[in-house]
């Protein structure tokens, strides 16, 4: 019985594939396979002329199936599906063989690669023979976007979407938006103050009619899929009536409880009722119930007494908000590496060993010292050491480069010199000044008086037990000598790390993490904001360490991705779902509890299981457990997979 007419298209991908795999041999091999009526190779099959080859053959030779041997289907499957569709062939009758990522790029030997490519093409042709036409379905998209994380990435994304006229929910865990950037003093390379450039954006977020700002809130649950995410958000009780509160701050003045302020990185204090910093948005306090005397003992209520508009609400409860969203942007930021993990650096052991964000707070005019760089005892340091790569580029901790530390160090050196008379020693392994105007900035600072750059990694910070001075030990690797540098303050430029709850967040949003723990983008270069979960995008330092310009760029980029979804108004959902063949189903009900989406139900009248295709995501788990073979995973059915197995195993 003659099978469907199959055309095979082998792509050279320039030399990416052709440089390893013998194109002629592969093309000829494919031509010999049963049902193959045409087999061609071409330099770039994804190019217009390449696609035209396929289209012409579909029309002229009446092809019924198309096999493209090229890159990963994750790359160009949509391209070739479209080409088939344009030529009148159902796009689900196209199958790809991945002979680049999984063959030419990973195989040393050309002959072996050719052999493997043949097997992969054979497998694809086998599967193609059994393919069936499927129709895409579309579902409407909710026009709202959810943004998780109110740092600069989330803020940027929210504003862009709002300004484009679409509705945004911005959810932030802390009482104020602003993220880590709000803690910074000056920003490199221009040295403008972070607050000066960030605060206006924060205010715009609060004021924009298209933005619903939910601070002190967390996403609890995410269900659904692109265009139709159903999200549960817990808005924690601030214990104040936000409508009545005018942000006067009287409560904070009078509150008797003092606790370390997280925002000040342990260097300053706050009250039990507080806004984390003066420019907070919204500028309304929260009561930290863990530390508030009233919640502990039932007494106090001073804030309630002093509040002019009577806005304190001790009995306020958490609010649960459920909302539908078309797209989600995750911008949850980073966590600084805890340098006490490596006690050799002295952090946590010596008072005047601080990390980068602590220095930012010291240097910040609104910080605990009013912008003065002071030692713990209140005196000014005479010498300061700055250590790069604390935890970064270190297989003991984080293997990757944190990218911003070199520039931050240069900035710190400058700020120390600007505000004190201290000598500055900057201990670097390599100076990586990769951004626009960064090298220029470095060149400026390097020339400043009493700033000394030493090429060598700070190995250890000791204290002279007699003088109390800190001793930094380093090899000056350019001289090949050992140096012990006495200083009063050590600034550790610690690594940018994934947040400690990154795994939990990743699971909640159905995204993955790369080996370094950051969220995984769909494609490192070409799809940096997309994730494997359609409709969920990532931006900023939750994806990898970044400076502010890059973070802002990604925030805007993610906004574009989200807008693409919500403006389209509808999304295509895959027709590759499961189906029950009624005449084969005996109603054993094994499949029903297997479906995580509850897409399978039991039809009592017919005595068979049935699949709700709108709910089914097409994982095929049910098909693999259906003993009688009544459940079929469309596009990945038993016949197709058996044929593929035969193909890869054939000689």
């Amino acid at each position: 019985m003659p099978g469907p007419k199959i055309g095979v298209y082998v792509c050279h991908c320039g030399s990416n594939i052709a440089g390893k795999v013998d194109m002629d041999a592969l093309r000829e091999f494919a031509a010999e396979l049963p049902d193959v009526v045409v087999s061609r190779d071409y330099k770039y099959m994804c190019s217009d002329p390449g696609q035209d080859l396929i289209k012409a053959d579909i029309k002229e030779k009446g092809l019924e199936r198309v096999v493209v041997a090229s890159c990963s289907p994750r790359m160009h499957e949509p391209t070739f599906k479209r080409a088939c569709q344009d030529a009148g062939l159902n796009p689900y009758l196209m199958e790809m063989a991945n002979i680049r990522e999984q063959c030419s790029w990973v195989t040393e030997d050309g002959e072996a690669a050719t052999q493997k490519a043949k097997a992969l093409v054979h497998s694809a042709v086998n599967k193609a023979r059994h393919l069936e036409p499927l129709e895409d379905k579309t579902v409407p998209v909710d026009p709202k976007t959810l943004i998780v994380g109110g740092g600069i990435a989330g803020i940027e994304a929210a504003l862009k979407i709002a300004e484009a006229g679409k509705e945004v929910y911005l959810v932030e865990r802390e009482p104020s938006i602003g993220g880590n950037m709000a803690k910074l003093d000056k920003t490199f390379p221009t040295l403008d103050c972070a607050a000066c450039i960030l605060t206006p954006k924060m205010v715009s977020v609060a004021q924009h009619p298209n933005i619903t700002l939910l601070t002190y809130s967390e996403v609890e649950k995410v269900e659904g899929y692109i265009g139709n995410f159903e999200v549960t958000i817990r808005k924690r009780a601030r214990s104040i009536d936000e409508k009545l509160c005018n942000g006067c701050g009287t409560c904070q003045e009078k509150c008797p409880i003092k606790v370390p302020n997280e925002f000040e990185e342990g260097l300053g204090m706050r009250k039990a009722i507080y806004t984390p910093f003066p420019q907070a948005v919204p500028n309304k306090p929260v009561i930290d119930r863990e530390n508030c005397t009233y919640y502990k003992t039932g007494k106090c209520k001073i804030c309630e007494r002093v509040c002019p508009p009577k806005a304190i609400r001790f009995d306020q409860e958490d609010e649960i908000i459920t909302e539908k969203f078309g797209a989600i942007i995750v911008a949850t930021g980073y966590q600084l590496f805890d340098p006490s993990v490596g006690p050799q650096w002295g952090y946590g052991r010596y008072d005047n060993v601080i990390h980068g964000l602590q220095f930012e707070r010291l240097s910040n005019a609104s910080g605990p010292t009013g912008g003065k760089i002071l030692l713990k005892d209140g005196s000014e340091p005479e010498a300061v050491a700055i250590l790069h790569c604390v935890g970064s580029r270190d297989t003991n901790y984080a293997e990757y480069c944190s990218r911003i530390c070199c520039m931050t160090s240069v900035k710190f050196a400058h700020l120390v010199r600007e505000k004190t008379n201290a000598k500055v020693y900057d201990l670097y392994m390599d100076m990586r000044t990769f951004g626009k105007q960064y090298e220029e900035f470095y060149n400026r600072v390097v020339a400043e008086r009493d700033i000394y750059f030493i090429r060598g990694k700070g190995a250890e910070v000791m204290q002279d037990p007699e003088t109390g001075k800190l001793l930094v030990r380093v090899e000056d690797t350019l001289l090949g000598v050992f140096r012990e540098i006495p200083v009063d303050m050590v600034i550790l430029n610690a690594a940018i790390c994934p947040r400690p709850d990154a795994q939990e967040v990743a699971q909640k949003f159905g995204i993955q993490r790369s080996a370094d723990g950051f969220f995984l983008e769909y494609h490192l270069k070409l799809e940096p904001m997309k994730t494997a979960n359609d409709g969920v995008f990532i931006a900023g330092t939750c994806q990898s360490p970044k400076d502010i310009p890059d973070t802002v760029g990604q925030g805007a980029g993610a906004a574009a991705e989200a807008l693409k979804v919500v403006f389209a108004g509808q999304v295509t959902v895959t027709p590759t779902t499961a189906e029950v063949r009624d005449t084969l189903c005996s109603g054993c009900r094994i499949c029903i509890p297997l479906c995580p989406y509850n897409a399978i139900t039991f039809d009592e009248a017919k005595g068979v299981a049935q699949v709700n295709e709108a709910l089914c995501k097409g994982c095929g788990t049910c098909a693999a457990s259906c003993p009688s073979g009544a459940l079929r995973a469309k596009h990945f059915d038993n016949r197709q997979l058996y044929a593929q197995i035969e193909g890869v195993c054939a000689e």
């Binding site: 006690p343 050799q344 052991r349 000791m462 204290q463 037990p465 007699e466």
Partner: protein, 307 residues
């Protein structure tokens, strides 16, 4: 460590009925220069309910000296001890830091580096022995800390060494390269044990800085310098004595203290004792049995008030 072990340790032992908890590898020093370490370790652990059985016919682990002289031999020699321990079917306890690191080095090899591993196995085969994978090797300090536990130590203390200021000096090879201790550079296990027996532990930042070890033989000048620094910090921090857990450290700091004083014009009189001597003493064991008299710098005056 497993709970079972803790239970075992706590279990009262009738005469002869109990299987020992560990095979004990004393190492050469504990049989010669560091006999007080040997005696105080075995005796105080017995009080704490841990029985050690000396590994029969053990041989020198080769120390780091052999690692430097002959790579294969430096694995083969300690491997014989591990093979015999495996035959005995018990985990191994080690008190000497140098032995500890050397034996662990073989363990590490047993888990990795296949081609070299088979070479070592071949040498064992030549003497009719074999080693199947790594052997559980425990430092006695770690056993006391984990398997006995601080609570049990506190319970058993007869003489609380209240007011005795001790600088805990671990040496380098106990926690490095990376063993079972809390941190390779700033372990705290000995600190906690000393506190549990009532002593005041002084801050000692050099707690794992090197004493120079065997280099005292070949590079005496510079090694004396290292030891001078170690003594200096202990003195500055106000320590009455230094507690150690390694025979080499003890020897360098104690036996050479006089030489250091004459070289650097200092006047250190810091007794250097094994932590187990203090532990045993606190547990009520006899001062003499703990071998306090064997040190070059006498420790007696600091212990008088507790006796």
């Amino acid at each position: 460590m497993s709970e079972t072990k803790t239970k075992d340790a706590a279990r009262p032992k009738g005469a002869g009925e109990a299987k020992p908890d560990f095979v004990f590898f004393p190492g050469c020093s504990l049989h010669s220069t560091a006999r007080e370490y040997h005696d105080s370790t075995v005796q105080s652990m017995a009080v704490l309910g841990i029985t050690l059985e000396e590994l029969d016919d053990w041989n020198c682990c080769g120390a780091t000296a052999l690692s430097s002289a002959d790579s294969l031999l430096s694995y083969a020699l300690p491997a014989r001890n591990l093979a015999m321990t495996q035959e005995r079917g018990l985990p191994m306890a080690v008190a000497c830091n140098s032995c500890f690191v050397t034996l662990n080095r073989v363990n590490a090899l047993m888990e990795t580096d296949a081609p070299y591993r088979s070479k070592v196995e071949e040498t064992l085969k030549a003497i009719g022995r074999r080693l199947d994978g790594p052997v559980e090797i425990r430092h006695t300090l770690h056993i006391i800390y984990h398997d006995v536990g601080l609570d049990r130590i506190r319970e058993k203390v007869k003489r609380r060494l209240e007011g005795l200021k001790v600088a805990p000096y671990y040496g380098c090879q106990i926690a490095r390269p990376r063993h079972e201790f809390s941190d390779p550079e700033f372990p705290t296990e000995m600190d906690d044990i000393l506190e549990a027996i009532g002593a005041e532990v002084v801050r000692y930042d050099r707690k794992t800085k090197c004493c120079g070890g065997a280099l005292m033989t070949t590079k005496e000048d510079v090694v004396l310098e290292l030891n001078e620094q170690l003594l200096r910090e202990a003195q500055v921090r106000g320590a009455d004595l230094i507690a150690v857990c390694c025979p080499m450290c003890q020897m360098n700091l104690d036996a050479y203290q006089g030489k250091i004083n004459s070289r650097f014009g200092t006047d250190y009189k810091l007794p250097v004792v094994y932590f187990t001597q203090l532990l045993g003493f606190a547990l009520g064991l006899d001062e003499k049995a703990m071998g306090f008299g064997r040190g070059f710098v006498p420790a007696g005056k600091h212990l008088k008030k507790y006796a």
